[in-house]
């Protein structure tokens, strides 16, 4: 105890111990908040269920509507397009967690919970870290369900179990990084509705101007360049490589992230986490509900 004065507790209740401080308190507080958010997810299963419908629809629609028309690796084979497509859908799905994180945090602001948390002697980043961790758990569950659906429509990972896990690990990391963007949006817009739309709108250009759904070679030059350097593309490409989903005569574009997608994916995701976590935590500290 570093403090000078401890009074008798007024109501016979406990006195708040001085926190352990540092990383251990930070981890502990984050886990408490994560637990709270996971309980909420269990009690509002609609959110998880609706979160699954859209990617499943995309798997089916893209596989059967576009498959056969889109030329990948020199052939327009529906089966090959399905293989190629899945990593893209997985990646798009994990980034959609952004909207959930944003809406959740905006709702906490709106309802005065952020004020309560900020008046407690807890670690400053814990409310946001707890939220993003809970979202990561939800994203992981979503990926499992989606992988099963993908298997049903004929998708396979060809490079063994470990590489497959590594692929999903990169996807999860990307999703986690994006929830920090969502957290910042949630703290900025203040209403859950705005956070949901604000969290989604920019994801469409981001995920479509990429190598997720079609190869970049057929895009106009400047779009192709954006697509190849898009952080989102790096993870898609990395997952494809780790799943063995690139068509046999596919030639990767010359852009560095496309040549080294696994490394690029890790670097991009870490960069997003560092930048947006810093901004979001700073915003949280001065948040006003």
């Amino acid at each position: 105890m570093t403090t000078t004065k401890t009074r008798e507790p007024a109501q016979g209740g406990p006195v708040a111990p001085s926190g352990r401080g540092g990383i251990s308190q930070s981890v502990n507080d984050s886990l408490i908040v994560a637990k709270r958010n996971l309980i909420r997810m269990l009690r509002i299963p609609e959110i998880v269920i609706f979160g699954l419908i859209q990617p499943i629809m995309f798997v089916v629609l893209f596989s059967y509507v576009f498959g056969g028309s889109i030329i990948v690796g020199g052939t327009a084979s529906a089966a090959e397009y399905r293989e190629f497509l899945m990593a893209g859908i997985f990646a798009q799905t994990v980034t959609f967690a952004t909207a959930g994180a944003g809406a959740g945090i905006a709702e906490d602001m709106h309802k005065g919970l952020i004020d309560r948390f900020r008046s407690l002697p807890m670690s400053r980043g814990a409310v946001l870290t707890g939220r993003t961790l809970a979202d990561a758990v939800q994203t992981a569950l979503t990926l499992v369900v989606l992988a099963v659906v993908a298997l049903l429509v004929g998708w396979r990972a060809h490079e063994g179990f470990l590489k497959m896990l590594a692929g999903f690990g990169l996807l999860l990391l990307l999703g986690y990084a994006f929830t920090w963007i969502g957290a910042l949006i949630g703290l900025t817009v203040r209403t859950p509705e705005a956070a949901t739309s604000g969290g989604l709108i920019w994801l469409f250009p981001l995920t479509f101007v990429s190598v997720a759904f079609v190869p970049s070679e057929n895009m106009p030059n400047f779009l192709a360049t954006i697509a190849q350097w898009n952080p989102f593309s790096a993870t898609v490409q990395a997952a494809r490589e780790l799943f063995g989903n690139l068509p046999p005569n596919y030639v990767a574009p010359d852009a560095w992230p496309m040549q080294n997608p696994v490394l690029a994916s890790v670097l991009y995701s870490l960069l997003i986490i560092v930048v947006f976590r810093t901004l979001a935590v700073r915003k949280y500290r001065r948040a006003a509900a």
Binding site: P9, A10, P14, A16, P17, R43, A288
Partner: protein, 351 residues
């Protein structure tokens, strides 16, 4: 030696809006200060500064003897905050809410659980402990919110409009809880727009308007400052109002006017002389054969105090504060604005 809550020259601007314009407070340990004022007066902003949620532009503050600006986390260990709307997670049960808050106050899981049970019992929520807060009534949510603020028995409590939006029965119940709490030695700062509430709960009252404390003292002192007793008469027959008015004018304190409300047949006159004078008035009315429905000696209420201090009634601009959220009242009409401005100001500050 400064009191348990101390503030000196607090100033806070949100863009062009000066929310706090030099607020000074000094609340002795174990007492209740009522911060009384209309919407937008600066009550909530003051609470937010004292509870470490907002950094003032100028001024200093301490809570439980600890500097709010320099050691915010030490302050947080010693305060409980119950805000304008019940800040509970509605998808968690009552018990889960309290356990979570306890653990975030850094109690061990076991202690947090035990304390949650105690509080649920004490706040009459034991039967609802395992239901989600979503199913609670407004009064129950307020009680849960208050319980959350008391998880560590903080020596200093802040309650921002604790009864806004509650029905009279729940308000009464909450008052009892607050009185019990104060009897236990807690120092309390309470904001309210209800004059009756400040009168009922607070030892001292600070009247705030436009970010300044415009008057302070006990409820009796403030009333004495405003001065003036009045006699109020309701006559039975409308046609006798004129006669009654004439008669009352003779009893008015120097220069006092008789106020007449035709439709309620009510006449009010400022007087001096208390009960003795009241008896005289009754005799006079009787002598003239004027029948009356009601008569009384009225001492000034805090409402009168407020009107005489600010020139407007305390609750006149709260019409939109009574929304279904239970009144996120203060600043509700300009909060969006001031937030945006606050954001802009923060950005400008960074450059």
């Amino acid at each position: 030696m400064p009191g348990a809550i101390y503030a000196e020259g607090l100033v806070k601007n949100f863009g062009d809006v000066r929310a706090l314009d030099g607020v000074d407070l000094d609340v002795p340990e174990g007492t209740v200060l009522g911060l009384l004022g209309p919407n937008g007066a600066g009550k909530t902003t003051t609470v937010r500064v004292l509870t470490t949620l907002l950094t003032p532009d100028q001024g200093k503050a301490s809570v439980a003897g600890i500097d709010v600006l320099r050691h915010p986390n030490e302050v947080r260990r010693r305060i409980g905050l119950s805000g304008q709307f019940a800040a509970v997670d509605e998808y968690l049960t009552g018990r889960e809410n309290l356990q979570m808050v306890g653990q975030l106050y850094q109690l061990k899981a076991k202690d947090a659980r035990r304390r949650a049970d105690e509080l649920l019992e004490r706040f009459n929520l034991a039967d609802a402990a395992d239901r989600t807060a979503k199913t609670y009534s407004g009064g129950m949510r307020r009680r849960l919110d208050l319980a959350a603020a008391l998880v560590v028995s903080p020596p200093v409590m802040f309650m921002d409009e604790p009864t806004t939006g509650l029905d009279p029965r729940n308000r009464q119940a909450l008052w009892e809880v607050i009185q019990e709490l104060v009897a236990g030695g807690t120092t309390l700062l309470l904001t309210t727009q209800y004059l009756e509430e400040a009168d009922h709960l607070a030892d001292d009252i600070c009247v705030v308007d436009h970010g300044r404390v415009i008057a302070r003292g006990t409820s009796d002192q403030l009333k004495a400052q405003t001065g003036g007793e009045r006699v109020e008469v309701v006559v039975r027959e409308r046609e006798r109002i004129g006669t009654a008015e004439e008669l009352l004018r003779a009893h008015a304190v120097d220069g006092g006017e008789v106020a007449v409300e035709q439709h309620t047949r009510r006449l009010t006159v400022p007087v001096a002389g208390g009960a003795k004078l009241l008896a005289e008035v009754i005799r006079d009315l009787d002598g003239r054969g004027i029948e009356i429905d009601d008569i009384g000696l009225r001492r000034p209420t805090l409402d009168d105090v407020f009107i005489s201090l600010t020139g407007h009634a305390a609750e006149e601009d709260t019409a939109d504060g009574d929304d279904e959220d239970g009144g996120q009242s203060e600043n509700s009409e300009n909060s969006e604005n001031s937030k945006k401005k606050a954001g802009a100001a923060a950005k400008a500050g960074k450059k």
